[in-house]
Symmetry: C2
Subunit: 100 residues, 2 copies
DNA sequence: ATATCATATTGACAAAATTTGATTTGATGT
DNA sequence: ACATCAAATCAAATTTTGTCAATATGATAT
């Protein structure tokens, strides 16, 4: 079974790798198919596929099949969730017993 | 030399590990010294020290020495920076040429 | 059915992250 | 100076990630 922290860690795992941040950068300009991404980044095809899977599983990127192509884009919903999660994880709990 | 993406990745590296999320959880209730954290989490002393270093280097946690104790707390500044960074990294670029 | 193209999956390997136990450092107390 | 405690650092062992090449899958076209 997956703990809540493990689930949360997955969201940020998407963002803790240089290559994946590069991919996000490419996606920021809009919808891209994998083949386009592949042209703009220095990794092999299977490696790209591996990273895209991590990005999609984090929820930050969504994919859409179109014929034999897979298109990717940044998910507004997913990004928004990630931002809220980060805010929650780092918010100091003002009702806690231990303020000094 | 460190690329910008590598620098950004470091911020999220702090958050992509289950144990570090647990530590953040403990810190949310207020300022804690390492020895207190150690009592509340199932890892060894050197391992905790390793994770604290990563958290501090990300900017999300700050440390303060007091005698022989090190106290840690979540940094408002650092958290805020991380949130802004995340927002930036996932914002879709509306002036881009490729909207469909 | 066969061929082709885009992408996903697999297994082997290399590289990076994490854990562990031992040792070191630095502050404090006697 | 010596002992003690908290935390950091180091080296070795282990685990997890990421890369590459090969292969599989699934859609499309002939």
């Amino acid at each position: 079974m997956e703990t809540l922290n493990e689930k949360h860690a997955k969201v940020f795992k998407a963002l803790c790798d240089e290559k994946r941040l590069h991919i996000l950068e490419l996606l920021r300009n809009g919808d891209n198919c994998a083949c386009e991404l592949l042209e703009n980044i220095d990794i092999g095809q299977s490696s790209l596929s591996y990273h895209m899977k991590i990005l999609v599983e984090s929820g930050i990127v969504e994919s859409r099949q179109e014929g034999k192509w897979t298109h990717y884009k940044i998910s507004e919903q997913g990004s928004s969730n990630a931002i809220h999660l980060l805010r929650e994880l780092t918010s100091t709990n003002c009702t806690g017993k231990k303020e000094n």
